[in-house]
């Protein structure tokens, strides 16, 4: 299986997996809220890569995957706006955005 351009399918999938892994690692370990946000974006983009790769391989005519990728980007944008708003409120209240120092719902 390969993409129309002749690249084997596995290349973009692995690439997407690596990206997703990096994004996951960052989302779980970083302290800065904005960094976490950027990692989440990275994960979303990795998913997009995955989607487009499959779409190019199997549904060249329908282009469903590419449309899906567009939706994901839209949702990502909206979600980033929301997340930034929350981080802003956090910054105003706590004067920092270190999530490891935010644990009011702790035991």
């Amino acid at each position: 299986m390969m993409l129309p351009s002749g690249i084997p399918l596995t290349y973009p999938l692995v690439f997407g997996a690596i990206l997703f892994g990096m994004g996951l690692y960052g989302a779980l370990t970083q302290r800065n809220a904005i960094r976490i946000l950027m990692c989440v974006e990275l994960m979303l983009n990795a998913v997009n890569v995955n989607l487009v790769a499959f779409a190019a391989t199997f549904w060249q005519a329908a282009a469903a995957g590419q449309v899906f990728a567009l939706f994901v980007m839209t949702v990502a944008a909206a979600e980033v706006a929301l997340a930034l708003a929350i981080i802003l409120i956090l910054a105003r209240r706590e004067k920092h955005i270190d999530i490891e120092r935010v644990h009011l719902l702790r035991w």
Binding site: L24, A27, L28, I36, I99, L104, R106, W107
Partner: protein, 636 residues
């Protein structure tokens, strides 16, 4: 009239209840009710006697109890023996009722006295017409109760209470033997009735060896109730009760119940000569034994008491030698003259306020009616013809001489002593110089209520002997009896009483031999007699103190052994509960608290999941997702 015989006991019973409940509201506190009931009963009994003499008999039974296939039909009967007894009992009781109006005047328990008197008469009359041993036993015990109540009439004095207890307990001992005898008979013959028992003997259901045992056991009751040796000890002490009561129950009627029982149940004794032998010797011995004690008594009532015991011995001995008619005859005459003597002594006591003959003397001039009636009674007791006592005593001696000469001589000796002690008592009381001037001055006869009964009884004591002939063909066992005459017996008896009387007169009236000298010479014997052969003391030490000792031992055991065990159990229970408590606190509560503690610990651990850190939650999310994928891949 004989069909109304059941009414005769019922009237005094009704009177007793009436007096007890309503007595305080009637005039005289119920004495008139008692006298009225007794008068009617007496008239009825005369009617019954006339009927029975004309040949009428009555036998009425009703179903008393049913147990499985055993049906007890019990009831009452009227035959010559019962008819005669009814008259004797009602007449003596009536005389006592009337006499008591004077004697018991002002007594604090007057009403109770009359109620018990009526109740007692009911019991005796009921006993007389019972046709079976069960009813007889019930009335027997009832009489014991009334005796106890009457002896203890003056219960403010502890001595009187002791006397009442002694009477009840001593007769109770007799009653136990009697009851065992009754049960033995019942076990063998399945009946209580006299006629059925007699039939059982005839057809062999009741074997003779067993009958011998049962008869002797049965006889133990009369030994108690009729004050035979060795259960005689209660009668002298019973003199603590009011004298008219003594006249009725301890002289004339209740003590005669034992004699009556043997007579009524003679069919049980006649086939077994060994039992009769026992009866005869107990009676004869008692007759002589009691007479010896009567010789030295100072208290006039005690003399009469021992005399009664002795005369009852005569009756019992008579039954023992087969002199059925003679025994019943003597029962009758004795009832009259002994009741007379007791009432007369009551009159004397009422006059001088003392029972000690050494404080009397010369009362014949001051108490003529009492004196003359006493003389008649004394003469009858000694057996001077033509008074009643002579006839009945003569018959007894006659039958004894013909059937059992040794018994005859014992009774003769007793008769001699009887003459002596009676003359002694008579002389000390009524003749000679008065020893207590003050009492003598104030002595006077009681009113008519006291003298009339004396006169009536005196008449009866004088003439009732003449029914000897008719009685013999009326009351008998087996074949009709004939009153006969034996010059030898007559001679011996006469010599004996004459000697007895003369000897007593010689000592007390003519002072031919000094009384003090005799006491000096026979001092040891005199002391033994005075102390009544120490029998009362022996009984006191052995039985009374023995029982008290036993009770003390039982009390000690109760306090130290039984209570020890009980307390030990309690102590153990306390200790065990302490351990249980520890267990409860330690183990059970430990578990409960432990469970709670576990939750606390667990929650402390699980709480740590709530870090509040978003990134931890995300990690968990990732891990869960991976786990789900794994399951999906592996499971699928």
């Amino acid at each position: 009239m004989v069909e109304l015989a059941w009414l005769i006991p019922v009237l005094p019973l009704a009177a007793a209840f009436f007096i007890a409940v309503f007595g305080h509201r009637t005039t005289g506190q119920g004495d008139r009710v008692g006298i009225g009931a007794m008068s009617i009963a007496f008239l009825l009994s005369i009617g019954v006697l006339v009927d029975v003499m004309g040949g009428a008999r009555l036998s009425q039974q009703f179903t008393w109890a049913v147990h499985g296939d055993l049906v007890l039909r019990l009831g009452y009967q009227v035959d010559p023996l019962a008819a005669v007894m009814l008259v004797v009992v009602t007449v003596v009781s009536l005389m006592v009722h009337i006499f008591s109006v004077g004697y018991m005047e002002g007594d604090v328990r007057y009403k109770r006295y009359y109620a018990v008197l009526s109740l007692f008469t009911f019991s005796m009359l009921g006993l007389v017409i019972s046709d079976n041993l069960l009813f007889l036993f019930v009335f027997w015990e009832l009489m014991g109760l009334c005796s106890y109540l009457l002896i203890g009439h003056y219960f403010e004095e502890r001595a009187n209470v002791h006397a009442a207890n002694k009477a009840f307990l001593t007769t109770r001992v007799g009653d136990v033997g009697m009851f065992v005898g009754i049960l033995v008979l019942f076990m063998a013959a399945r009946t209580f009735r006299f006629d059925e028992l007699t039939a059982a003997i005839a057809d062999g259901t009741l074997s003779l060896p067993l009958l011998t045992v049962a008869a002797i056991l049965l006889f133990i009751g009369p030994v108690g109730k009729s004050a035979q040796f060795p259960l005689h000890v209660w009668l002298p002490d019973a003199m603590a009760g009011p004298t008219p009561a003594s006249a009725l129950i301890h002289a004339a009627t209740m003590v005669a119940a034992g004699v009556y029982l043997v007579a009524r149940g003679y069919g049980l004794f006649a086939p077994v000569p060994q039992a009769l032998e026992v009866v005869a010797w107990v009676g004869a011995f008692t007759a002589l034994f009691a007479a010896t004690i009567a010789l030295v008594m100072e208290d006039i009532k005690k003399v009469l008491a021992y005399s009664t015991i002795s005369q009852l011995g005569f009756m019992v001995a008579a039954l023992g030698v087969g002199a059925y008619t003679a025994a019943v005859f003597h029962l009758m005459t004795h009832a009259f003259f002994k009741a007379l003597l007791f009432l007369a002594s009551g009159s004397v006591i009422h006059a001088v306020h003392s029972q000690n003959m050494h404080q009397m003397g010369g009362l014949f001039r001051k108490l003529p009616v009492t004196g003359w009636t006493w003389l008649i009674g004394a003469g009858a007791l000694i057996g001077i013809p033509p008074l009643s006592g002579f006839w009945s005593k003569e018959e007894i001696l006659l039958d004894a001489w013909h059937h059992n000469p040794p018994i005859f001589w014992v009774l003769v000796a007793a008769a001699a002593l009887t003459a002596f002690y009676t003359t002694r008592a008579t002389y000390l009381t009524f003749f000679g110089t008065p020893r207590d001037k003050h009492a003598y001055e104030h002595a006077h006869e009681g009113g008519r209520v006291m003298t009339y009964p004396l006169i009536i009884l005196g008449a009866l004591a004088a003439v009732s002997g003449f029914v000897a002939g008719p009685l013999a063909s009326f009351v008998y066992f087996g074949e009709p009896h004939h009153a006969s005459f034996d010059p030898f017996v007559f001679g011996v008896a006469t010599v004996v009483w004459v000697v007895g009387v003369l000897l007593a007169l010689a000592i007390y009236k003519f002072n031919l031999v000094s009384r003090r000298r005799i006491i000096q010479v026979f001092y040891p014997i005199w002391v033994v007699l005075k102390r009544r052969y120490y029998i009362d003391d022996v009984y006191q030490y052995v039985f009374v103190r023995g029982m008290i000792g036993l009770a003390l031992v039982a009390g000690w055991i109760d306090r130290h052994v039984i209570d020890f065990v009980v307390n030990a159990v309690g102590w153990i229970a306390r200790r065990v509960s302490e351990y249980v408590d520890d267990f409860d606190r330690g183990v059970v509560d430990g578990i409960v608290n432990g469970v709670g503690g576990a939750f606390v610990v667990g929650s402390r651990v699980f709480r740590q999941l709530q870090t509040g850190l978003v990134q931890s939650y995300m990690l968990v999310l990732l891990l869960g997702l991976l786990a789900g994928l794994a399951i999906l891949v592996i499971g699928g």
